[in-house]
Symmetry: C2
Subunit: 231 residues, 2 copies
């Protein structure tokens, strides 16, 4: 399987929108849904007493949009997600995603939780930065990055572990997010080669022609599954 | 479980778009995906020699859009769909859906197949008319309606068996589509009470608040499933 460079990931994305004429709405819905499926499989709610609390961290880009879609689908699958979305984007798609979550009684919190406050969550979904991330990390995101580095709650990173170099992985091992699960979307990026946890592929929408052009050599998704475990 | 009147179905839909601010792109993607899952479950491809040919009939409304989304996801699950879309709609979303299918090498046929020509298909997905249908059937659609009434190939109707009265069911039993499978989207419409075949619910996106307001009393979707069999 191929691991994409940052430029390849950006080009793939541009091609899906320009050449294949997908809307962001379509692909974000499928991406976020596949992330919800991964979490539901790995953190199954077996009984009424299962801890179903999840913190969904949403950044200002499409990664954050994936996170809000994930939260909405999780709430339809008996989870109780809470969203931390420190830098809101005023675009129709993102306003709609927020609205849908609000009307599904998903709480948005304004203040970054402490390590102690966050310990109640079964998992934290990291939708802070995606494949177009370049350092430095802005001040707005420093508290939540610190929390995600310090917490013992399992982290589920969407596409990229936030703060990692998209190609080279963690810049500073001792001060980086160490996700429990990574969900690569479309295809894994180079940084995923440095990832040691549970690795899934999601975003079952890649046209075979695009996969061939970028030599993606993707694994088969079994049956109707929207995600596939890679290890 | 409640069966919606035509007005209730229209109001539910309007509310999802206006109040919940979903885009058509989002809900159509989820609806069409759930239809592809139903077909993949009921017409499983067990081996290389399984007949994987499907005819997807798309009308000019959102039902036809669901059909194109269904076709795209079927093609990602090893089916070989062919689309008959006799009245094309020149809107960005629909142009995009066509483009995606074309670039995934899904064939569009211009001529309605004969009963004999259609006999090669494993199933026919009926995305011709949806819940806003009111008679009469226009000339453009008469050939395909005749085919779907006369063929022995199993028909999978999306939301409404085309030509049926949305509330009262088939107007003329001897000259109506008799679907093998009906996939009700969001919630069943009144006509589904007259349906005797395999009945599924799809479109797992209904906010609980909306379900409560319309007293939908929907069944639970198991696990991460996007569709649920009702009988």
């Amino acid at each position: 399987m191929k691991f994409l460079s940052q430029d390849e990931a950006i080009n793939c994305d541009v091609e899906l929108f320009n050449e294949y004429q997908f809307s962001v709405d379509q692909l974000m819905e499928l991406a976020g849904l596949s992330c919800a499926h991964v979490a539901a499989k790995e953190f199954a709610i077996n009984s009424e007493s299962s801890n179903n609390l999840a913190l969904i961290v949403c950044g200002p880009g499409n990664n954050g949009g994936d996170g809000m879609v994930m939260a909405r689908h999780l709430s339809l699958m008996k989870f109780k997600p809470t969203i931390y979305y420190p830098k809101k984007v005023d675009k129709p798609l993102f306003n709609g995603l927020m609205r849908q979550c609000e009307l599904m009684d998903i709480e948005f919190i304004d203040k970054c939780p402490s390590v102690d406050e966050a310990s109640k969550y079964r998992f934290i979904a990291d939708g802070l930065f995606g494949f177009s991330f370049r350092p430095p990390i802005r001040d707005t995101f420093k508290d939540i990055m610190k929390l995600m580095c310090e917490t013992n709650v399992p982290i589920v990173s969407i596409d990229i572990p936030s703060g990692w170099n998209v190609e080279n992985g963690p810049e500073d091992e001792s001060n980086s997010i160490k996700p429990y699960i990574l969900i690569s979307l479309t295809a894994p990026k180079k940084c995923a080669q440095h990832f040691k946890g549970i690795h899934y592929l999601g975003g079952r929408f890649v046209p075979p022609r695009l996969a061939n052009k970028y030599l993606l050599d993707l694994p088969e998704y079994p049956g109707t599954e929207l995600c596939v475990k890679l290890n």
